[in-house]
Amino acid sequence: MKHLIRKEVTRMKKWMFFWVFLFYPVSVWAGEATKEPLHHVADISRATNFFTKWLAESYNNDRLLHSIAGVIAMTIMGIVLAYITEWIMGMLGYKTEKMDHTE
């Protein structure tokens, strides 16, 4: 049995070597590299609601404010979602932090 496993692992290693060191680099070489501009301007006219319009404006005018707003938005959303999901799962009778993997 160990012999079989070893044989199988050797075969997998050969496949991995083929993909990672031969096929993938060739594909990267074959794929076209496209230069992208490092600075672009957000199109405010296409923004449909206040939030996206404000995001686009702050992106164009004040990158620091835009970045801080992004981090704050995710902080608030993370905290709110943490409480909501815990509350819903608690109502359904699940305490996920106490669960063990049964495999």
């Binding site: 049995m1 079989l4 496993i5 070893r6 199988e8 997998m12 496949w15 991995m16 993909w19 990672v20 096929f23 993938y24 680099p25 594909s27 990267v28 074959a30 794929g31 076209e32 590299a33 496209t34 230069k35 992208e36 490092l38 672009h40 957000a42 199109d43 405010i44 296409r46 923004a47 449909t48 939030f51 996206t52 319009k53 995001l55 992106y59 990158r63 970045s67 801080i68 707003a69 992004g70 981090v71 938005a73 995710m74 902080t75 959303m77 993370g78 905290i79 979602l81 943490a82 999901t85 815990e86 799962m89 699940y94 996920t96 932090e97 669960m99 063990d100 993997h101 049964t102 495999e103």
Partner: protein, 333 residues
């Protein structure tokens, strides 16, 4: 513009928000179920669906920050977070993330960010896919891991002891973990993992946990909780840094976070009902399909690549959800 399309101002494109929600949901289910963050699926998936690579990385990092807040709340309750360890490693990670981000921006200016990062992802996903298939194969055959890997495992505590014996001052005593370690060791671990996180847009949890356990000698539960704290700090910094470089789509990150939070609850609840290693086989295959889809994207077959990456992730998440529903029905009926 129809009901399902949303204008993303930074990406400058109309995007189907259901796709973003689905990506978030799938990574949440897989992260909750398998215990791996799953962040390394988001960057390639966003790139396949049209985000330029630096924008995909920045958006992924910001969403990881939000997701880590949700996860760390649970672990903090259990007292599994070593604050000193988390903060000290995070200092290194922030330096590393900035280096990684600058390398990405340099490559982007040369037009090489997409191909090179896709190559790294293809290799990583292939490695992980084969590793999980190998794990499945050995588990099914009921044969312990090969002699070489057991030797490696037994040598790990020795390596941790050697690293703990590096006594370059200042030495830091980690109270919650009960170990003393050089500040420089923690800084170097942080910088190396941070570079990877900043370059690939991953949280780094899958490298932090083994590094804490085997290199620092921290107990497993504390390693998991503390790694989440590192993900919060480095994710926030990474999101901020990429945003300053104009490479974060905040709206997309918010939708991803919403999907991930719903999915994570389903994944974490399903572990109670899913038995056997069959699901791991599917997961391994899914990772190999994800690697193939990145390859297809590189070969300009974006549509096929998108169907493949999202389809395979939805299939595996659907199976896990189905197991959960069946389990609940049989438990209550």
């Amino acid at each position: 513009m129809d009901l399902f399309h949303l204008y993303l101002p930074i990406a400058g494109m109309e995007f189907n928000w259901l796709i973003l929600l689905a990506i978030g949901f799938c990574l949440g289910v897989m992260g909750g179920f398998f215990g791996m963050g799953g962040g390394w699926i988001v960057t390639p998936a966003l790139n396949i669906f049209g985000f330029p690579m630096p924008l995909a990385i920045g958006t992924d990092l910001l969403h990881i920050y939000g997701k880590s807040i949700v996860a760390v709340k649970k672990h903090a309750k259990l007292g599994n977070v070593d604050i000193s360890l988390g903060i000290l490693v995070s200092i290194g990670m922030m330096i590393g993330v900035e280096i990684g981000a600058r390398v990405v921006m340099f490559l982007a200016a040369k037009g090489l960010a997409g191909p090179i990062i896709r190559y790294v992802y293809m290799s990583l996903l292939t490695f992980l896919g084969f590793y999980i298939l190998y794990d499945y194969y050995t588990a099914v055959k009921k044969v312990p891991a090969t002699a070489s890997s057991s030797k490696k495992r037994s040598s790990n505590p020795g390596l941790a002891a050697k690293i703990q014996h590096i006594s370059i001052p200042p030495m830091i005593y980690l109270k919650a973990s009960g170990v003393s370690v050089s500040f420089w060791t923690l800084l170097i671990i942080g910088i190396l993992i941070g570079i990877m996180a900043g370059f690939m847009g991953v949280g780094g949890g899958f490298a932090l946990v083994p590094a804490f356990i085997y290199l620092v000698g921290v107990p497993t539960a504390v390693a998991v909780g503390s790694s989440l704290l590192c993900c919060i700090i480095s994710g926030a910094y990474g999101g901020f840094s990429y945003s300053m470089k104009g490479r974060v789509e905040i709206v997309a990150a918010m939708i991803l976070l919403l999907g991930a939070c719903i999915g994570a609850q389903i994944g974490a609840s399903a572990v109670k009902y899913v038995r056997g290693y069959g699901i791991r086989l599917l997961y391994g295959i899914m990772l190999l399909l994800a690697a193939t889809s990145v390859l297809l994207k590189q070969l300009k077959m974006a549509q096929t690549a998108g169907i493949m990456v999202l389809g395979s992730a939805l299939v595996i998440s659907g199976i896990i959800t189905l197991y959960l529903v069946k389990g609940i029905i049989s438990e209550r009926g």
